[in-house]
């Protein structure tokens, strides 16, 4: 029985520390905080995306939620059950798809891999063959089903991972970087499949490094940096969060501090960022559409013979980088 609650994942003040040892004979214990008080809720039927730089804690969080890792403190409930105490009850209800080349038995066929996990998931014996056929068909692996997995391309392996995760029709699916390393066509096919699953009511928890993927697929996105959830909102909400839906980029050999200070004080400009760009400097302004004046902007600058100005929409990547950099600065 699924819980009646509309939230499939409820995480409160979740922390997780790892300890490792350094040295040969006289070893030193080193502790690392992978998660530092994460709060998160994922609603039933939602496609939730988790973004974050390498080492931010995405995989740690995914593993805790999929019962593969115990938290150090805090609580995490999946489908109404506590991950620390009710792991065995959660497992039949979730599907886990880990990205990459690993996680499959290479010397047997794709079909045999699925058959093995169908047994471990306790699928009714009479329906194993037909269900395997269904998921193979769904991910487009029917023709290659009887080939050894070691002969599969990376994309085919990724599809097999997904087929395995779907075997027992879980109401909640964890996808950990499912399109990593895939060619554009395979990645697009996989995203289409994820969208279809979501439209069929499957709740999905997706981690990814690709902004466009998150923007295209996810209802809501959480950004994890240094083990903390720095923001959690819809894609457009995140863009607003960093100070506007518009971005203006200025490039020149040099901008002095007085100019930057004048730019910051302009009406409609919420944030001014600067980054070196080879021999030039790029100044990025987050602006609120309709509230900023292009003429005022030009007036705030000294004459620059090489000035380059570009206006564009603020992307999720901009929002992501702003939020992660804010966290780093903090």
């Amino acid at each position: 029985m699924l819980p009646s609650s509309s939230d499939v994942i409820e995480v409160t003040k979740l922390t997780r520390s790892f300890s490792s040892r350094k040295g040969f004979l006289f070893q030193e214990k080193v502790a690392t905080d992978a998660l530092r008080g994460v709060d998160l809720t994922v609603h039933s039927g939602e496609l939730f995306g988790l973004l974050g730089p390498n080492g931010a804690g995405k995989t740690t969080l995914t593993k805790i939620l999929s019962t593969l890792l115990l938290p150090t403190s805090g609580t995490a409930r999946v489908l109404g059950r506590d991950v620390s105490r009710e792991g065995a009850a959660i497992r039949p209800l979730i599907g886990l798809v880990l990205g990459g080349e690993r996680g499959l038995y290479n010397r047997v066929s794709g079909r045999e891999n699925l058959r093995y996990f169908a047994d471990l998931y306790g699928l009714p014996s009479g329906s194993v063959t037909s269900r395997i056929r269904e998921v193979l068909d769904l991910v487009g692996l029917t023709e290659a089903a009887d080939r050894r997995v070691e002969e599969y391309s990376r994309g085919m392996k990724q599809k097999l991972h997904l087929a395995r995760g779907l075997l027992h029709r879980p109401p909640l699916l964890f996808l950990d970087e499912p399109t990593i390393g895939l060619d554009p066509r395979s990645a697009r096919e996989l995203r289409k499949l994820v969208r279809t699953l979501s439209s069929e009511g499957v709740s999905i928890f997706l981690t990814t490094h690709y902004m466009f993927e998150a923007e295209e697929l996810c209802h809501r996105i959480g950004i994890l940096a240094h083990g903390q959830m720095v923001a959690c909102d819809t894609p457009s909400g995140l863009q607003r969060l960093v100070g506007g839906e518009g971005t203006v980029e200025l490039e020149s050999r040099e901008f002095d501090d007085v100019e930057l200070s004048r730019l910051r004080s302009l009406p409609g400009v919420s944030r001014v960022l600067q980054e070196p760009l080879g021999t030039h400097l790029r100044v990025t302004l987050r602006v609120r559409p309709g509230q900023w004046d292009p003429d005022a902007l030009r007036g705030a600058l000294d004459p620059h013979p090489d000035l380059f100005v570009r206006e564009r929409r603020t992307t999720l990547e901009d929002a992501y980088l702003d939020l992660v950099e804010q966290e780093v600065a903090a």
Binding site: R91, P92, L96, Y121
Partner: protein
């Protein structure tokens, strides 16, 4: 849904089938784990040559026992190592079937494939050396042999729990293989061992099972002095103890893996 019956047998069956398929895909891996016991037995047989037919049984029985143990130890260690290397340990742990059933299937498979070593030595003894194998009660011998296999599987289960726990499986294998050959008396009576080794020896189910097999195979055999019934009870009791211990250790190991987050380490 969470307490669906049948996970145990389904899990064991699935694991056995996967082991069989993996073996068929690449059968050469049987050689590394079978070679040591077979060569040990052949060397021992050569040393026993001319010492009478009784010692032929020692060589064949010893080879079978050592081969099954070698295969169990290395096969299970290898499979667990592969699970880590291939990254399949995590998907297996996240499935609702308890991992011990998956391991049980593998251990049973390894014990069965370990028979190959015994058969090889038997073949050499019978055909190459032309030595007859003295057996007074074939049926009882066969039954006891199955008991020996069961006892080895029980110990193998416990050892595999250690392999899942630690990355030092190579060390355990190296120490566990030869120490077992000695303390189980697979190739010689345990009476030859120093007195202080007796507790370790008697704590091993295979010691009792091998002794029982010698009772049946060797006329007038004087083994552990508890007789055939004592040997049978010893085999059963110690095997059950190992099984219970393995169940407990597996629960602890699984919890430890989740706590330490080391299931994906290799």
């Amino acid at each position: 849904m969470s307490k669906r019956p049948g996970y145990g047998l389904r899990g064991i069956e699935a694991s056995l089938r996967l082991s069989l398929l993996s073996f068929v895909a690449d059968p050469q891996w049987l050689i590394p784990s079978s070679i040591a016991p077979v060569i040990f037995a052949l060397a021992s047989f050569e040393m026993f040559r001319g010492s009478g037919p009784t010692l032929v049984l020692y060589a064949v029985l010893g080879a079978s026992t050592m081969s099954m143990w070698g295969q169990t130890l290395y096969g299970s260690g290898w499979a667990t190592g592969q699970d880590r290397f291939l990254g399949t340990l995590e998907p297996t742990l996240v499935a609702p079937t308890p991992y011990i059933y998956v391991v049980a299937g593998r251990v049973i498979w390894n014990v069965l494939t370990g028979l190959v070593g015994g058969v090889l030595v038997l073949g050499v003894v019978l055909w190459a050396y032309g030595q007859p194998l003295p057996l007074s009660n074939g049926l009882l011998f066969l039954g006891l042999f199955v008991a020996l296999m069961g006892s080895l599987a029980a110990v193998g289960l416990l050892f595999t729990a250690l392999f899942v726990y630690t990355r030092f499986s190579g060390f355990i294998q190296n120490v566990g293989e030869f120490s077992f050959y000695i303390i189980s008396g697979a190739m010689f009576p345990v009476i030859l061992l120093p007195f202080w080794v007796s507790p370790f020896s008697l704590a091993f189910p295979a010691t009792w099972a091998v002794d029982a097999l010698r009772y049946v195979g060797i006329p007038g055999y004087q083994g552990l002095s508890w007789g055939l019934t004592g040997d049978l009870l010893g085999t059963l009791g110690t095997s059950l103890a190992y099984l219970a211990l393995a169940l407990g250790v597996f629960r602890w190991v699984e919890h430890h893996l989740l706590e330490a987050g080391t299931a994906s380490d290799y």
